[in-house]
Symmetry: C2
Subunit: 282 residues, 2 copies
């Protein structure tokens, strides 16, 4: 697989190669590590590496979550670096950092996450507006996944506010994401929680061609079949279903990695059973 | 000064002690360091430490910006740690990270920024809603500054969207910030750009008692007198005027630290000339 395609191309290729829409969230909370591993920074890294190795055949992408690396303190960046570089280069890696800032600061984030850490995509919060998103959109090989409708109960506090024409903030964001995807070199996708299938369907109608990252499957209770029906694109893809705890903490014994691999395979199969028509390369 | 008061108390005390509303933004972009220093991670840290030492007498607070530490790559967290711990413990330090995430992830960020890195306050993006903000609000000694109306031209893309009653998103956020300040143990303040003095005045009317962090003075062109009139609270305080590049890059020679100190003193004096009535402890 060429490494110089767009982020969207690379995700599509990987989905085809492994016939999987599963994106595995890497949330290494030391309190949740298998008891025999202890609670050190090193064990968090070892844990992630073992989970990555066991889940590789079923992973369309990986999504390390910055928060859990911040919680590791000043060693957190070394851990993040080690985890990122444990994932083979041809598999898309999305840093879930929900970054947002302006001008030179945004450019500094882009340089850090994309060039220094070599992430393929990042999540970005749109609240600050287009000129705060544009600095992440200059590299055609990279992806930016914009928070649109998040999976939490409180997401409606602001995202459901309707303008004078009755359009919610999250759909205003979706409309902008479509424009940005057309206007800038990078691939622009959206983050929509699996817990809101109706709003997911609305977003898919407005953004038929864009990648949607769907958190909230599994531990957060999003129903798989309903989410897929609402979120798949016309070709039966365009969707990354992100699950973290339900996969990486599937087991807590010595065989925790095998348990994670089994959970990833099960989710892949459960998702594929709801995908119709099956993709041509399945 | 006691270190166990609320964040608001500590800021108010420090403003009184140095008779200054200046918050110094630490944005160590290696490309902007004085040429004689080179462009290493170590020089970024040395630069910040020298600027801190020279500006201490005029600083109500410091605000390191995470983006510039991310740009340093995997050594960025060690640099951030070193910079934070170069600032005396009694001076409030705000990490400008614009964090936003849910549940366990938000709690992980809180643990990392507040407990591991020992920051006194962080900036938080409100897009995800109250249940995504609450995990940062549990510690009465800490502060959370919520993005309300940001200083950039594109801030209106979403923040100016008006609901059916004609209230803008940024003012809906301001109303929530007031509620959160009353309801949670931590101090809740707001971030409002100096570039929008009318909206700053609206926010101050809705949140008369809360701390406002005002970026955009200096390099971004916000007018000092107008901003102060709009943003000061009834006691002539409650405002941190944040300036970064105009202070830390005031000079580029061997005496860059002296130049930074002079720029900070000048800004303090310029701000104080617009403060009326003078605070009782000035």
């Amino acid at each position: 697989m060429p490494e110089d395609g767009t982020f969207d191309d690379r995700v599509r290729d990987r989905i085809g190669d492994v016939n999987s829409l599963v994106c595995i969230g890497l949330d290494p909370a030391v309190a949740h590590l298998p008891p025999h591993m202890g609670r050190s920074v090193e064990s968090a890294v070892t844990f992630c590496q073992a989970v990555i190795e066991a889940t590789l055949p079923f992973a369309a992408a990986y999504k390390p979550n910055l928060g859990f690396f911040v919680a590791l303190g000043r060693a957190g960046f070394n851990a993040l670096w080690a985890v990122r570089h444990s994932i083979p280069r041809h598999i898309p890696v999305i840093l879930d950092c929900k970054t947002n800032d302006l001008g030179e600061t945004a450019a500094a984030y882009a340089r850090g996450w994309f060039d220094e850490f070599d992430f393929d995509a990042i999540t970005v919060n749109p609240y600050m507006g287009e000129d705060a998103v544009a600095p992440y959109l200059t590299d055609p090989r990279k992806g930016v996944l914009i928070l649109c409708k998040t999976s939490n109960p409180g997401s409606g506090d602001f995202q459901d506010i309707r303008d004078g024409a009755g359009v919610s903030l999250s759909l205003r964001v979706a409309d902008q994401c479509r424009t940005w995807h057309e206007r800038y070199p990078a691939s622009v996708g959206l983050v929509v929680g699996a817990t809101y299938p109706e709003q997911l369907a609305d977003v898919r109608r407005r953004c038929p061609e864009q990648l949607i990252l769907l958190p909230g499957i599994g531990a957060q209770g999003g129903a798989v079949a309903e989410s897929l029906q609402a979120g798949l694109d016309r070709a039966g893809g365009g969707l990354l279903c992100s699950a973290s705890r339900s996969i990486i903490y599937a087991g807590s014994g010595l065989d925790y990695d095998t348990a994670a691999g089994n959970a990833a395979r099960l989710l892949r199969d459960q998702i594929n059973a709801s995908r119709a028509p099956a993709p041509a390369n399945a």
